[in-house]
């Protein structure tokens, strides 16, 4: 059974005013338990609007969203539960930090769930561990952390709710390469250890290729493609037409094969290296 299922959802912005605009048009999608789905699309394609429907922040103008088999708009209770079952971490989440200490900030979500104190404590410490925050940082003010640490503390605040599906909207935006790698590594670890579904909204086709099982491509307020990384990335021309681009390394592999050196196709540098060294029979 899918953990998140959207059926024919349509969403309009500024409904009933002259500036009415279609943000989502008849979108249907199923996200299975434990799946890691990359969501890509150019700016304004409806990615962020779509993910805000999954945790009941936005209500579709038509269509239904079910989380764990429950229609989230069937009752107030269901909408409330969806917030915790589907953890949504917005872009630049460090701007949501507000408490005196990192510990208190991470415990905000679990506290809102009404959990007992010792359970909150367990969750805070575990979330901090997942994102790689040392325990001595927990007593610091969140405003004293570095940029990358703030980002990870904010993500921990969502993870601490132990959602069955975690949505991360551009979690690596504005980070330096080292910070980016740590966040991506963290996502991979988190997913392996919890088995939770993860939705990764990203502009980086390479990051998505590296982490995701499936890719959802959004275009013009609708679903353009949804399938495995190989299926989706094989439509390079179509992706380019809708303003996306395949990873640099894929282009290189493509050029190589057109020049007569066919090593197959790859979306990550690591995979390309494997293919080339394997086929050429050389090692390092």
């Amino acid at each position: 059974m899918p953990i998140i299922s959207a059926k024919n959802i349509t969403h309009l912005y500024n409904k009933g005013t002259p500036s009415e605009a279609v943000a989502l048009k008849d979108v249907s999608i199923d996200i299975n338990k434990g799946e890691l789905v990359g969501i890509i699309g150019h700016t304004g394609s409806g990615k962020s609007t779509l993910v805000q429907h999954f945790n009941a922040l936005l209500k579709p103008d038509s269509g239904t969203v079910t989380v764990d088999g429950v229609d989230i708009w069937s009752s107030k209770r269901a909408a409330h539960d969806a917030r915790f079952k589907v953890g949504l971490c917005f872009q630049y989440p460090e701007y949501q930090l507000f408490e005196e200490t990192v510990y208190k900030d991470i415990s905000f979500g679990p506290g809102n769930m009404g959990l007992p104190g010792d359970e909150i404590d367990r969750r805070v410490r575990r979330a901090a561990e997942y994102v790689g925050l040392q325990s001595d940082l927990l007593d610091k003010s969140p405003f004293d952390l570095s940029g990358g640490e703030k980002r990870r503390a904010a993500i921990a605040g969502v993870i601490a709710m132990e959602p069955e599906a975690l949505i991360l909207d551009e979690p690596t935006a504005g980070l330096d390469p080292a910070g980016r790698d740590r966040v991506l590594e963290m996502i991979r670890n988190y997913r392996e250890r919890t088995g939770s579904a993860v939705l990764l909204v990203s502009h980086s086709m390479e990051d998505v290729a590296r982490l995701a099982d499936k890719v959802l491509v959004m275009n013009n307020a609708g679903v353009e493609m949804f399938g495995t990384v190989d299926e989706v990335y094989s439509h390079a021309q179509r992706l380019r037409d809708i303003g996306l681009n395949i990873p640099q390394i894929s282009k290189i592999m493509y050029i190589l094969s057109s020049k007569g050196y066919d090593f197959g196709s790859a979306y990550t540098v690591e995979r390309a290296l494997e293919l080339i060294t394997g086929k050429a029979g050389v090692r390092e």
Binding site: P93, Q96, M161
Partner: protein
């Protein structure tokens, strides 16, 4: 919900009043407000009401919108009117019961007060409906420039006002963003008593302050980089120029004030103040 707030409440239009010079509009509005309090006889009051209605029609702003701006002051109007009915003595006694005395003077004063406040609010909201906030601050800067002689930093004050207005939409977006982020962590903003709701705002206000201060620093740096050294001696891209229509408006307003004075002179004043 927050997006519904209209600040500066400019109504896009192309009427005669929209085209007037903002400086002239501010001065004429002030003249009009003085005239409001000169009205002491019924004919003068009638002239003022007619003139106000004419102004609304010229501005092209829908009557509905003008009336909407009256809503917040309804209670004030009611309160002052009721107070005046009981406090102002004199005239023909209508009701006299123990300590309550209501005379014609009280009723007239109440009526005048109500009409005056309504006209005052209508005319000043016409000013903001037909003038963009930027035009208003520019005009204010020009009008207050004599204060420079007594070392009031008029240009800097005007810049502060412009910046404050500029950041209102930005802050509204920011509030929306932070609210959504905290709601995603299960923050409950809509339920509970007053104290609980006030407390629920802390997770929104703290990040809002932090980012506002950050923005202020960034803006200061950006202004520094573009060699802003204070407002004195800055020139404007849009120069304000008085046109014939501005002088016509001034003349019409002067006629109106003269009319009020003449009517007051020939007809009996019905109120003392």
């Amino acid at each position: 919900m927050i997006k519904d707030i209209t600040i500066g409440q400019y109504f896009i239009g192309d009427s005669f009043m929209h085209k007037l010079d903002a400086r002239m509009k501010i001065i004429l509005t002030m003249v009009f407000i003085v005239a409001i309090f000169l009205c002491k006889s019924f004919p003068a009051l009638g002239l003022m009401v007619l003139f106000t209605i004419a102004l609304v029609l010229i501005s092209g702003v829908p009557m509905k919108m003008v009336l909407k701006s009256l809503k917040p002051i309804a209670i004030i109007v009611l309160f002052t009117s009721v107070l005046n009915i009981f406090y102002v003595r004199g005239g023909t006694e209508l009701v006299s019961w123990r300590f309550i005395h209501i005379g014609t003077n009280g009723i007239f004063t109440a009526l005048f007060m109500a009409v005056r406040i309504i006209c005052l609010v209508v005319v000043s909201s016409l000013l903001t409906y037909t003038t963009t906030p930027t035009m208003l601050t520019d005009a204010l800067e020009k009008l207050l420039s004599p204060l420079k002689l007594v070392k009031v930093p008029v240009a800097t004050l005007a810049m502060m006002m412009t910046l404050a207005l500029r950041f209102i939409p930005t802050l509204i977006d920011e509030i929306d963003r932070i609210t959504n982020a905290q709601k995603a962590r299960g923050a409950d903003l809509d339920n509970g008593g007053f104290i609980k709701r006030a407390k629920a705002l802390i997770p929104i206000i703290v990040p809002l302050f932090v980012s506002s201060i950050r923005r202020a620093y960034e803006l200061a740096d950006a202004m520094d980089c573009r060699c802003y050294t204070g407002g004195n001696g800055r020139t404007r891209m849009k120069q304000m120029k008085l046109m014939p229509r501005d002088f016509i408006s001034a003349a019409v307003t002067a006629l109106f004030v003269a009319g009020i004075i003449v009517l007051n002179h020939f007809f009996k004043a019905v109120i003392v103040r």
